[in-house]
């Protein structure tokens, strides 16, 4: 994807294209979780609030809540994950994306980190 990738402190990534925000989890996050075995995604049309847990990613012995980086409506979900949750491990930034959220107006991404900032952030974890 050519659009700029941004990260949250909860190790999610977002890519913004107009008013559509695609969300996934970072390479660091998938590595911490280990083999992902199940992804519980929201329903299409669900409305999520920024900071609200809206999806769950499970490995064999760990569970991670995924928090909405922006407020908006779920307009697309990655249906491939239902049968192939391992895509999150294999391709966290691309084929392992989770959902797309449609925001009202312009997505507020001011407090998210760019690649460089995120890498610096990881060093402090």
């Amino acid at each position: 994807m050519s659009e700029k990738i941004l990260y949250t402190k909860e190790h999610e990534w977002v890519v913004v294209k107009d008013n559509i925000v695609r969300v996934g989890i970072s390479d660091y996050a998938q590595n911490e979780l280990g083999d992902v075995v199940f992804v519980d995604l929201p329903e299409l049309g669900d409305v999520v609030e920024e900071g609200e847990g809206f999806a769950v990613v499970e490995s064999v012995k760990a569970v991670s809540d995924i928090y909405a980086p922006v407020s908006g409506e779920i307009v697309t979900i990655n249906e491939e994950l239902e049968d192939s949750p391992e895509l999150i491990n294999e391709s966290p930034l691309d084929r392992g994306w989770l959902v797309e959220i449609k925001v009202d107006g312009v997505a507020q991404t001011g407090d998210l980190m760019n690649q460089q900032e995120y890498e610096a952030f990881l060093k402090g974890v």
């Binding site: 199940f38 519980d40 499970e58 490995s59 064999v60 012995k61 760990a62 569970v63």
Partner: protein, 447 residues
């Protein structure tokens, strides 16, 4: 102290390693004023022989069903139990293991549990079953809570023909989570729920409707109709079933159930004054399966590609998800589930059906003989399986005392259910014609 192998010399060696003079020092971090300075007020220790004698004396104060002939059921049933069961479950590898956390050295428990799950799924006609719950009543309570979570609704509809103790258990679990309960009345003529007379409930708010089959009175409900009703409104259909009856009756899967629960005592488990038995829990649909409470065993392979079994879907459970777990349950009833599985395996496809058939035939014979007695009648018209209600203007509790003196345990008086003069009889394959005929003769003399 009979099971502590430590010798004085060994104790001294350990104290030397620790560099302390006495074991007391290991408890120095307990505030002194709360340390006990005297023995607990308990009886002095018994030797093995004295213990056995004490238990024999206690047992003698009970009248048990090795000498008393029982016509009582209501949730605990006197079925024949193949001898082989007690020998298998006495093996220390099963008896003295715990939850199979280390799969590589727990394949015995894991595979036998997988087989148990398969058997329960088969008789209930459901996709999967879990590794078991405490008992039927708690399994039903958990099924109701699971329905609320799955549908995001907070109203549960229970039949008034559900076992009264199960009603109490479900009520306690649900009221602690502020879930409302509505009850379906039963028809006084048939003894079952009338699916056409279930007004007054806003069905689109209902998380689930429960049907007990056979119901507390031993009668067969019109389960399918209630299932269709709830499915029309987007709720879940729960069936609480008797596992022996499923040898003859249409499976809950065929009737459209989403969750099936029941008590497994009748599958080879001792009555044991009410416990332990097991609750079974089965479900269909992948979304529901991931919401199931309790342990679940799944098939997989080892690094050499060989088939093996592991605890799976563990992220539902308390040790990982803590307050967000689907339930707080941690143990299951592994040994009782093992008993149930051995029972079904040794009975086998044909034997299982024969048990059901004999229960039905003998219960019917006994019912007809009872109805020959003047003053007794059958208050309900719906078909029954192994249990049925008889009505008579007599004091059944008093009659039961007299019967007990003659070596018979009569049916359960239903006064507590608002049915004075009604009594619930149960007849299993373990009863003989001779026992039934003798009972009838005795009862005639008492009425």
């Amino acid at each position: 102290m009979r099971y502590i192998p430590l010798t004085q010399d060994e104790k001294q060696e350990m104290l030397d390693v620790l560099g302390i003079a006495s074991v007391q020092e290991l408890f120095d971090d307990i505030p002194e004023h709360i340390l006990l300075d005297q023995d607990l007020e308990l009886p002095e220790a018994l030797s093995e022989a004295e213990l056995v004698k004490h238990f024999r004396e206690l047992a003698k104060k009970n009248s048990d069903l090795s000498s008393v002939v029982s016509f009582m059921g209501a949730g605990a049933y006197d079925h024949l139990t193949p001898s082989v069961i007690k020998h298998i479950i006495g093996r220390g590898e099963f008896l003295t293991a715990y939850t199979p956390y280390q799969a590589e050295i727990s394949q015995g428990v894991l595979q036998s549990t997988f087989e148990y799950q398969s058997l329960i799924a088969e008789i209930t006609g459901m996709e999967v079953a879990n590794a078991s719950m405490y008992d039927g009543a708690t399994a039903l309570a958990e099924a109701c809570l699971m329905s609320c979570a799955a549908t995001r609704r907070e109203l549960v509809v229970l039949p008034s023909t559900l076992h009264p103790e199960w009603q109490e258990v479900v009520k306690l679990y649900l009221e602690n989570q502020d879930v409302q309960i509505a009850y379906l009345p039963y028809d006084r003529q048939t003894g079952i729920i009338d699916p056409n007379a279930v007004g007054g409930i806003n069905w689109s708010d209902v998380a689930c409707v429960v049907v007990q089959q056979p119901n507390f009175f031993g009668l067969l409900e019109n389960a399918a109709a209630l299932g269709e009703l709830i499915h029309e409104h987007g709720g879940l259909f729960i069936m609480a079933v008797d596992p022996i009856s499923l040898s003859l009756l249409k499976s809950p899967g065929e009737l459209g159930a989403d969750i099936v629960v029941g008590d497994g005592q009748s599958l080879g488990n001792a009555m044991g004054f009410g416990g332990p038995s097991l609750g079974f829990f089965a479900a269909s649909g992948s979304k529901l399966i991931r919401r199931m409470p309790g342990r679940v065993v799944g098939e997989t392979v080892d690094t050499e590609g060989k088939r093996g079994f592991v605890l799976t879907l563990q992220t539902r459970e308390q040790h990982i998800r803590r307050e967000k777990a689907t339930s707080n349950i941690c143990s299951n009833q592994a040994l009782n589930a093992l008993i149930a599985a051995i029972y079904l395996n040794v009975l086998g496809k044909v034997g299982y059906q024969e048990v059901g058939m004999q229960c039905l035939q003998k219960a019917n014979y006994f019912k007809q003989r009872l109805l020959e007695i003047e003053g007794l009648s059958a208050p309900f018209s719906a078909p029954s399986f192994r249990e049925f209600v008889i009505q008579g203007d007599v004091d059944w509790a008093e009659i039961n005392q007299r019967l007990l003196e003659q070596g018979f345990l009569g049916g359960l008086p239903l006064d507590g259910c608002g049915l004075a003069g009604h009594v619930l009889f149960s007849v299993t394959e373990a009863r003989t014609k001779e026992e039934m005929d003798t009972f009838i003769t005795l009862l005639r003399g008492l009425i």
